[in-house]
């Protein structure tokens, strides 16, 4: 019995080594940051519409509906790639709100005219203030907002039909 105690350090080293090897082995995702806003309310904002600088939009305008808040910009190449899919979804009746992020209004209007507008509402966040409160690090990012104004999910990167079918659709339907 007493002898066995000498194996304790060896066993300890082996166990700790195994844990470390395992952590290195599994492809641990250290880049995507989960949103700290999950199940919390969408930050308060009051920003103009892309179409009309005098029309202010705020949280109250979106109460009572589940929607996807898509953060996009004309300088964002992936947004261009993602756009046809958003249009397709919008045509099927998916409620997508556009958050134009750190962009120029003229460019945004040109884009919406040229590639068609898939958004039910267009928020113009020139300084990226709502983006900052949402923890946006780039575009595209899409937030899934419940009808009570809380955030259910954040998707970073492009939305394509494959991703939509495999995971995003069920999240949208749960809003």
């Amino acid at each position: 019995m007493n002898r066995l105690i000498f194996f304790v350090p060896a066993v300890f080293v082996l166990v700790v080594g195994a844990v470390f090897t395992w952590v290195l082995w599994i492809d641990l995702d250290t880049e995507t940051i989960p949103t700290p806003l999950k199940d919390k309310a969408l930050p308060a904002f009051s920003l103009p519409s892309v179409y009309d600088a005098d029309q202010m939009l705020s949280n109250a305008d979106f109460d009572g509906q589940g929607y996807m808040l898509n953060v996009w910009a004309t300088w964002c190449i992936t947004c261009r790639v993602e756009h046809p899919e958003l249009k397709r979804l919008a045509d099927k009746g998916v409620n997508i709100v556009g958050l134009n992020y750190k962009d120029s209004r003229a460019e945004a209007l040109k884009w919406l005219a040229q590639y068609k507008d898939p958004f039910s509402q267009n928020i113009y966040d020139e300084e990226g203030t709502l983006g900052f409160d949402l923890g946006v690090t780039g575009a595209p990012e899409t937030f899934f907002v419940r009808s009570d104004g809380t955030i259910a999910h954040k998707h970073v990167g492009e939305i394509n039909s494959q991703l939509w079918e495999s995971e995003l659709k069920s999240i949208y339907e749960s809003l």
């Binding site: 880049e31 940051i33 989960p34 700290p36 900052f132 923890g135 946006v136 690090t137 780039g138």
Partner: protein, 151 residues
């Protein structure tokens, strides 16, 4: 030839001006604030980069964070409030000093427990040994006898 030399000097000085391009934007009248600003952007981690701090990063989000730190400092926020403000939006990822919570507390508690366990076992061993070493008078006498015999 003279122009050539001038171009060389300008080229050599170019990196300096590059490093100074943004600094002019965030000047404080109070040197204490200036120092806190430098410290904060040095300690905050850029959420878009691979382990680069906010001071060093050229990412747009890092520029936004510098602007936010500047604004919050001027609004009278404390250092802790500013870091908490960032964590609220960009998670623990933005700080190199991980905060104490129910997950990270083990990094402090486990070594303590191990150390305490080790000390306790050493103590128990030492006591056991010393108690085992006490001999009755009879035994001691026998030992003395044996040792004398030998020498």
């Amino acid at each position: 030839m003279k122009a050539f030399k001038r171009i060389w000097v300008l080229l050599l000085l170019a990196p300096l001006s590059w490093a100074a391009t943004e600094d002019y934007k965030y000047q404080f009248e109070d040197p204490v604030l200036q120092e806190r600003y430098g410290q904060l952007i040095y300690e905050l981690r850029c959420p878009k980069c691979q382990n680069q701090n906010v001071a060093d990063s050229d990412a747009p989000i890092a520029a936004d964070m510098r602007a936010k730190v500047y604004q919050l400092l001027n609004d009278g926020f404390t250092d802790k409030e500013i870091v908490d403000y960032m964590i609220e939006r960009y998670t623990e990822f933005v700080t190199y000093k991980t905060r104490l919570n129910w997950f990270t507390i083990w990094a402090w508690v486990l070594p303590g427990l191990l150390g305490a366990g080790l000390l306790a076992s050493l103590f128990i061993r030492a006591r056991r040994k010393s108690s085992g070493a006490t001999l009755s008078e009879e035994q001691q006498a026998k030992i003395d006898q044996l040792l004398e015999k030998k020498s």
